[in-house]
Symmetry: D2
Subunit: 341 residues, 4 copies
């Protein structure tokens, strides 16, 4: 089977992760061209991975009939527009999360995708992590019975710069959004209502910027199961990414990932090295896996594992979380409409 | 130093735990007499532990000048009254939790204790468990910095009979009350507000009896730290009693206790035996430790580690939790007054 | 059933452990009298545990018809003689390990026991530890198939004083003897041959005293299974007592015991507190369990779990180990005869 | 810097591992050509990795001035000869272990390498595993003080076919050789003497073929430290690859590697999935790392991390082990000369 030609749009940090994976680690796919608003960045990335085409105007790639699909890694505010254009050009689309920060933009994009009949996959890479896959498999296989509780621990090692915090859309859209996706994925169920307690405990400057850095979200699924998500922008010991599931037949939990398993006992105590510091180390393999699934969906017509709808719901949840925090009350997801968060 | 003569009031399950500990495992204390409404039960227990005095009327023991202190293990609805009587008789009091199910009763009892100047300790034994002591020490010593999060997992192996559920006062007063105490103990701080999601997911009959069997309580401390408690009346793998603390300088978590540490790898997987099944096995040592502390408080004048106030606040929290569940909104603790839960 | 009256002979460190257990923790037994060459030590111990009879001449206790059994905790060189006398006096005997340091003495004692028909149990307490019991159960139940390998890790926290080393009989008779018993217990099989590498790596003074402080013993069972034992007189992190078993159907290993399970993650690493420091903390419960089994053997005629033969074989193994080290060659156990180590 | 052109000699199982790594995972290296006695196998492999040159006669590649280095993955009996030829042709050599099964062959090859001044690295990939690197670092950094003990557990999941066993050179040369290298690597020291107990406990057919499938090797380093290696050809739970180190300042141990960290508690017990099944999964990353180090050694003149001498010593140890087993006695390494095993 001929490999799929993929054009990378956006050669920033996450774009480079995809570039590296598309260069040899994803069977059936070829990194065909790179676009970046900085033509120089596109050139550099193209050179590093032996890609012939590098441009500063992504529209040229949408117009290229050799391009079968795009990997959309530009800034979030451009996603919805480019999805629409790419769909109209008949390209399949792998889009980094989130699709957009407003439901209006998301819905316009999803409508265009639907009309064009192209394949769209959203980049919720954590679903492809071996630990969380195993957790989901346990639910599906009934290893822990009927699900009653999910608890997600999700902490970054250190807060981003305040300049980033200001444009991030807030903790819920920027960070929790991964956990909103994860909790739906693990449960295989939809959330009805949520309630939030949150604060700027890590850095008052984050509070001054109108955001929070510490949050606990409690939520109820249609099934009656209760979920909790806890976030912090700072964990001094590194990236803390764990889940606990509990059901009528048992419980499951996952641990952080470590660079080695050496356990040292000395006169002070028993210790091991810190877990992986951040997402590139921790989730490296999942970024390759999600693109493999995208390529397979295109080539073999298998279902897309993370649909446009899967990209939309976590935004609804983030908007509900923001409202719960603002109004200090539980908020139902059906209170959130396109006409306003 | 002469040993303290302790009279046991109530020779039921928990009374027998104290009887066993008072017979040889608590230096400085002597099990002097036993009272139970069933004189036969008092006799049997007295015989087993070589105690000379066994009565069916506890008032006789309150009148006995040889009795220095009582261990109050009768049914909850009698606690407040007997505390008052014992205080007026000048006896020191170790009282099983909870003091009572209404604040009015509690406040009458605490007033009597205060007036009499006797020592009162409440039986929140889990504070004396080695794991939770270590967790508290880490907070006090600053090992995890400024506390930002506490998560308590507290699940019983199997629900009690429905007949018990009906008179238990409800999950929050019967089961969560231990966790309300624990979260205050670990934080060394008071709770301002809490919010509950709960349901009868384990057994619909519990729901039909007007109670819940699965609950998650989120709460905010004065310091701004956020706590969560999760309860279930049923964990098929046994008693699940763990905490996770997170702060500016690190995190701490504790594990369940196991009868052995043997890890077996076979063709199916890597496995170990189940944790201890329930509280007698899991918390056995803590029941002795709390009484040792009580005896030391009397003999040496050291502060009582679990005061009457420590017995009152968890009842306030339980009443607030019940209201949050009923009214589906966050409830502040200062909304809870003696005049009604 | 009337409790068995047990006379404690020897009120030193291990004698006091048994005194404490016999005072309330062993159903069916009563600590009836105490003898110690230091009458004062006997008195002190008797007072602490409320025992009426305290003497400096143990023979008076052997002559007392109220004494049903003795717990023999005197110095090793007196064991064989007192066993003989006690057997002739018709007393059941619980004897601390080792019976003696020469096979001649052991055989004389065992002959006297056999002739008298009394019950003799040797104090290899580790067999009663929950971890090692579980390991043995796994072998018996076939959980790991046919046994092929046993590896025992046995390290003390710190070497004893040189004065003790000089009279200890050497590492193999003093320390490894427990592991020789354990490996027979776990395997349920006898050893045919062993080979030793050992040295004074911890403290040259131990070498100067003619002993070693670090040893590895490799041995072959009749079944063909291969065992290894590793000893050190010093582990800076505390008492290291673990086993690993491997068979045709799987493997099993046990961990050290810890005072708590708290796991702390901070900026330096992930750590926990040290394991228990030494045998009183680590094996406390096993000392009570072995005496319970002894009492049950007497009262109910159940088999003694650690027989006189079980006391003899480890001495043979220790003598073989010493010879292997001396002659730098594998030594068969049937080379070791009463006429010389 | 221009990439190094590497010719792969031998396109069997291990050859394909290197082919995959040399295609994109080793910066500075290019898979330039492939030779295999089966020209068809060479073609297939070349096609898979987009390599232009595929031949059945490796001599053509040695004659090609574009070839800078070879990766020698042919059958063991051809290694020594091809090393000699490659060295004479001025090619750098990465050679799979072992160099040869006799010291004569090894010494001829090493002499040729020395004379030619080319770079030779032996494929003891496990040194590049993150766990064992960390263990070695702990020794070097003094984290466990002066080393006194090393214990290596090394078990394959299942025995190879008897046809392979017959030509393998025996367990010590085929399997233990990795552990002989590892124990030298971890200790940073040379072995003086060793003693073996071994048997065919897994499969009598292996015994009938003149080999063993279960072995324990005890050895003494020049420093006085004592090592043990345990091998089995069958572990039903998968690849068992662990080390324990013990020293004056502490201890270190490593665990097996697992595909996920999910821990499941159900009514039967607490369990996790099996560790990785065999070396391709377990040591995948180390195969890339060793070649990266080889390329760096050539390009930057850094020392080769696994020298020809490092390839020779484990063969001496294997020959000593075979003699110890045959003669049932400890054997000094200096008893082993080129003139005979």
């Amino acid at each position: 089977m001929e490999p799929i030609n993929i054009a990378l749009l956006g050669a920033g940090r996450i774009g480079q992760v995809h570039a590296a994976n598309l260069s040899g680690r994803v069977a059936g796919a070829r990194l065909y061209a790179i676009a970046d608003v900085s033509g120089e960045a596109a050139q550099r990335c193209a050179q590093q991975y032996g890609v012939a085409i590098a441009v500063d105007d992504y529209q040229r790639l949408l117009a290229d009939p050799q391009v079968h699909a795009i990997a959309l890694c530009t800034s979030t505010d451009t996603h919805a527009r480019i999805i629409t254009e790419a769909a109209q050009a008949g390209k399949h689309i792998f889009c980094e999360k989130p699709i957009a920060q407003t439901l209006e933009s998301i819905d316009l994009a999803l409508t265009a995708v639907e009309a064009a009949g192209v394949t769209l996959q959203i980049g919720f890479n954590r679903r492809f992590d071996a630990n969380f896959r195993r957790a989901r498999a346990a639910v599906v296989n009934g290893e822990i019975g009927r699900l009653e509780r999910i608890h997600i621990i999700s902490r970054d090692p250190a807060p981003p710069p305040i300049s980033y915090v200001r444009v991030s859309g807030g903790l819920f859209l920027d960070m929790t959004i991964h956990d909103f996706d994860m909790i739906r994925f693990l449960a295989g169920d939809e959330v009805e209502e949520l309630f939030v307690m949150a604060d700027a405990l890590v850095d008052p400057a984050i509070g001054a910027a109108g955001d929070v850095d510490t949050a606990v979200i409690m939520l109820r699924f249609k099934s009656g199961a209760i979920g909790t998500i806890e976030n912090s922008r700072r964990a001094v010991y590194g990236y803390d990414q764990r889940v606990e599931l509990f059901g009528s037949g048992g419980a499951l939990r996952t641990e952080n990932q470590y660079p080695n398993s050496a356990l040292i006992s000395d006169a002070q105590g028993v210790r091991r090295d810190l877990p992986y510091y951040f997402f590139l180390e921790r989730y490296g393999e999942s970024f390759a896996e999600e693109v493999r699934a995208f390529v397979m969906a295109i080539q073999q017509g298998t279902p897309v594992p993370v649909t446009g709808w899967d990209g939309r719901v976590p935004v609804v949840m983030a908007l509900a979380a923001a409202r719960s925090l603002r109004e200090r009350r539980p908020v139902r997801l059906d209170e959130i409409h396109s006409s306003g968060g």
